[in-house]
């Protein structure tokens, strides 16, 4: 099928960017969206032009590195799908597709479709862990955890840190990402000792990075490729309030 792409090109964070239009006459419906970019880049290089820079690595929907904003939606039109798992059979012959990078001031553009998401790492470094040194652990079965709690913690922990929640939010809020980690650890007995401190530190770090506030529109939940629930934001808000009262 014939596909027309309007792709955001930007040399680096200091120069302004613009959309370039490319036409691909023969796209297979079995291709993934990123494989279509491979084919386009192959052609650009053979023509002596600069290839399009985009982030990607595992190409199986789990590393969280791919990050395209496709036709106004983070990771494209399918729910629960990362860009690398989006296949061209979901588009039609003759379609024009607009591809942009994640847009959020906390995620500065590096080049073309690549952005800097290191703000997420810094939020985790502020408190997204349980302080247990290697060798300190007790036997894994010494603390039973109700299956329901373990499953809920798993659902929160399934976050891949891709940043689609931030990219899609009109406020560029990182609440879904941060709350997923806060919630995972708050649901487990091992996470209790640091529970109050953790939520405060992580929220503080989140604010410092310049993410926007949450206005509960729920856009993040809709676009999250891993279906992380808005419930986690509610849980984090409650914990945050409690931690302030405890103080």
């Amino acid at each position: 099928m014939k596909i027309t792409l309007k792709v955001w090109r930007q040399k680096n964070g200091k120069t302004p960017g613009n959309f370039n239009t490319y036409t691909l006459p023969d796209v297979s419906e079995d291709m993934s969206f990123l494989e279509m970019f491979d084919v386009l880049n192959d052609e650009l290089i053979r023509k002596g032009e600069d290839s399009i820079a985009f982030d990607h690595d595992c190409r199986e929907g789990i590393c969280g590195m791919c990050s395209m904003y496709i036709n106004g939606r983070a990771h494209g039109p399918l729910t629960g799908t990362t860009t690398c798992q989006l296949h061209m059979r979901h588009f039609k012959d003759g379609d024009t597709i607009v591809v942009e990078p994640w847009r959020a001031s906390a995620f500065p553009i590096i080049k073309d479709l690549m952005v800097d998401r290191s703000a997420f790492d810094r939020v985790i470094q502020a408190g997204g862990f349980i302080s247990v040194n290697t060798g300190n652990a007790v036997d894994a079965n010494s603390i039973p955890i109700p299956k329901e709690d373990a499953d809920k913690a798993f659902d929160a922990a399934a976050c891949i840190g891709c940043g689609a929640c931030v990219a899609t939010c009109k406020n560029a809020s990182a609440m879904l990402f941060v709350s997923a980690k806060v919630s995972q650890l708050a649901l487990l007995p091992q996470g209790q000792p640091e529970r109050n401190m953790r939520v405060k530190k992580m929220v503080e770090a989140m604010d410092e990075e310049g993410f926007g506030n949450c206005t509960n529109t729920g856009a993040c939940e809709v676009e999250c490729p891993k279906g992380i629930s808005l419930d986690h934001i509610a849980r984090m808000n409650r914990d945050y309030l409690v931690s302030n009262i405890v103080d």
């Binding site: 040399k11 680096n12 079995d30 291709m31 993934s32 494989e35 880049n41 192959d42 650009l44 290089i45 053979r46 002596g48 032009e49 290839s51 820079a53 982030d55 690595d57 595992c58 190409r59 199986e60 789990i62 590393c63 969280g64 590195m65 798992q85 296949h87 590096i110 080049k111 800097d116 290191s118 997420f120 790492d121 985790i124 470094q125 408190g127 997204g128 862990f129 349980i130 247990v132 040194n133 290697t134 060798g135 652990a137 007790v138 894994a140 079965n141 039973p144 955890i145 109700p146 299956k147 373990a150 499953d151 913690a153 798993f154 922990a157 399934a158 840190g161 650890l185 487990l188 091992q190």
Partner: protein, 638 residues
């Protein structure tokens, strides 16, 4: 040079305990002054960097991805083994040790494997303490499942995302140390060379992938945890960025390369769909617990799977291996699939696939149970193929998945270069000629949490008086200049073909002649072909853009240039080993019924290759494998 594996004296079950009790230590005040470089932040690297930081060392950690959380350990699906015996099915440290040695077709080192089995239980404890949400029973205790090549249930898992959860656990421990400033993290950095001063590894040259700038970093020791080199085949289940560069550069600086030809072909991957294919996606081995593998009994049967009646289906694994059935080890399952497809019984449009069928299990257990166990895998399958595995059997075919070979290391995980360590998949040490499922995660975390942080003390304890070496030292300058020149040379070629063109050509040759089956004649042919591809790469490659900016094509070119050298060594190694063992199947050496035929009299050794300079043949050293605790027999899963 005689290879000394430095295996401690004493009975196998006491070696590690005794070693730990007698190893020289570094006191806390001295640890503060010692710097360690860790390259790679997958399970092996992140766990090592975190643990070394906790111990008080100053650590610098590097990864090429935009965050340490994205290393390809994240994609491991099925699980992690540990000899906990929570299932009360007769498991023990000895049994895990034995299964691993046998599964590896008797080509791994007993002492290392036993240590791995010993520390396996502590890994689970550590991960649970970090908040890793493993699957649990209703009583709140941990659930286990079984995996290929064993008869106990010792695999801990978190749905089909075990690697993700373990990596995020290690990443959280690493992040904690970054927050405490014990670890300095360098994301989007790629190591381009190791710096050796007075015979010891003392630092690295890394390229900042955003600015393109080359940087020099000093460390009293350097730990490589950079994963496997399966992308030498172009198509593999590895991530797009997974590469051999760090260990290949180390190899060229004196680290011997162990068993380079030992690669694992995973039996259950989604088949290739066309020339545009950029990578292959694994369907976890755990699926073989409930899925049955079959092909039609009739050649070139073009009916739909559901239209083929039961008595016209050949469940070839159950037929050939009644004792293990669909749960035979990976190498055996892969070869059996290839055998059926080569014989004309393959399915799908390419005829290079077999069915993995869940209809029996869905009938027996209900769709809900199957969905709870494998829901996310079924979703991945449907996304990629557009087919629903609940109603129509999956089509699968083997694909390159893991490399057992890697840098040769001694018991301390140190390479033949003093102060240079290799952990996780990038060393050769624990899996012999074939790795068992759910053992890669185990080894990565064993090395990183429990082995390396202790064994590195032996080297560092003698180094406490060494002051940080300034990075204007001539050896740093030399190494940086070499990296700079290589980049300049690549950029100046300005040919007419992109990097991928050469990578795909290399991959085809490696898959055809050095893949699931090999023979002497094909290997000789392939050697010449790889040399030719390499020569044309250096004449015709085109890299757009500039070296001093973000340039993904340059990154690829630097990696592929190294794969083009590695490929030849893999071929040499496969040619040298005149036997079949594990994933290394030489067609000349097989039993009457087509099973791998080992030659223990002549090939019970680790091949350790020494680089001798450009265009010089590498020199083969042999570390004899001594088996004192396991009797060598032909593997039988019948």
């Amino acid at each position: 040079m005689i290879l000394d594996a430095k295996i401690p004296e004493g009975p196998i079950a006491d070696k590690w305990t005794r070693y730990k009790a007698t190893i020289p230590l570094v006191n806390p005040a001295n640890k503060r002054n010692i710097e360690i470089i860790v390259v790679g932040t997958g399970l092996a690297g992140a766990s090592a960097a975190a643990t070394l930081g906790e111990m008080g060392y100053k650590v610098k950690a590097f990864c090429f991805q935009d965050s340490p959380r994205r290393a390809h350990s994240i994609a491991a699906q099925g699980g992690i083994n540990a000899a906990k015996n929570y299932s009360n099915d007769g498991d023990s440290v000895h049994r895990l040790f034995y299964d691993t040695i046998k599964g590896g077709d008797y080509r791994s080192r007993e002492a290392n494997v036993h240590r791995l089995a010993e520390v396996s239980t502590a890994i689970i404890d550590q991960c649970v303490a970090q908040g890793v949400p493993f699957a649990r029973e209703y009583g709140g205790l941990l659930d286990n499942r079984s995996f290929g090549g064993v008869q106990v249930s010792r695999t801990f898992y978190a749905k089909g995302q075990t690697g993700q959860q373990l990596l995020l656990g290690a990443y959280s421990a690493l992040s904690r140390q970054v927050g405490r400033k014990q670890v300095q993290m360098f994301s989007r950095h790629e190591m381009l060379d190791v710096v050796i001063i007075d015979g010891k590894a003392r630092g690295i040259i890394a390229r900042d992938l955003v600015t393109g700038k080359l940087e020099r970093h000093f460390g009293h020791a350097v730990v490589l945890a950079t994963g496997g080199y399966g992308n030498v085949f172009f198509l593999s289940t590895n991530a797009m960025g997974s590469n051999v560069t760090a260990i290949w550069k180390a190899h060229k600086k004196g680290a011997f390369f162990g068993n380079p030809c030992f690669t694992q072909i995973h039996p259950t991957c989604i088949p290739v769909s066309g020339d545009h294919q950029s990578k292959l996606t694994l369907m976890s081995e755990s699926l073989r617990n409930d899925g049955r593998i079959w092909v039609p009994k009739k050649k070139d049967d073009s009916r739909k799977a559901v239209d083929i009646p039961e008595d016209e289906r050949d469940y070839y694994l159950e037929r050939r291996y009644p004792a293990f059935g669909n749960l035979v080890p990976r190498d055996i399952a892969s070869r059996a699939a290839k055998e059926r497809c080569d014989a004309g019984y393959g399915v799908g449009s390419s005829k290079m696939a077999v069915y993995l069928d869940f209809s029996d299990s869905i009938r027996r257990l209900g769709k809900d149970v199957i969905e709870a166990r494998y829901g996310n895998l079924f979703e991945i399958y449907e996304k990629i193929t557009g087919e629903d595995p609940y109603t129509t059997p999956m089509r699968i075919y083997p694909a390159v998945h893991y490399t057992m070979g890697g840098l040769w290391v001694d018991y301390n995980l140190m390479t033949t270069v003093p102060g240079l360590y290799a952990t996780g998949e990038c060393n050769f040490s624990d899996h012999g000629a074939n790795r068992l499922g759910a053992s890669a995660l185990m080894q990565g975390l064993a090395d990183g949490y429990f082995v390396l942080p202790i064994t590195i003390g032996e080297f560092l304890s003698k180094d406490i008086r060494t002051k940080a070496i300034p990075t204007d030292h001539p050896e740093f300058e030399k190494a940086e200049k070499e990296a700079q020149d290589r980049i300049a040379r690549l950029m100046s070629i300005k040919g007419n073909k992109p990097v991928d063109h050469f990578h795909k050509e290399l991959g085809k040759v490696m898959w055809e002649y050095c893949g699931m089956a090999r023979n002497a004649e094909g290997l000789q042919k392939a050697k010449k072909m790889v040399q030719d591809i390499r020569a044309s790469f250096w004449k015709e490659v085109r890299i757009p853009g500039a070296a001093d900016e973000t340039n993904p094509e340059l990154e690829k070119a630097l990696r592929v240039a190294d794969f083009l050298e590695l490929g030849e060594l893999m071929i040499d190694d496969a040619y040298d080993r005149n036997e079949s063992c594990g994933g290394h199947f030489r067609e000349e050496y097989q039993t009457e019924d087509g099973e791998a035929l080992r030659d223990d009299n002549n090939y019970a050794y680790v091949s350790a290759w020494q680089y001798k300079g450009d265009n010089q043949p590498e020199v083969l050293h042999k570390e004899p494998l001594v088996f004192e605790n396991v009797k060598l027999v032909q593997r039988s899963y019948k």
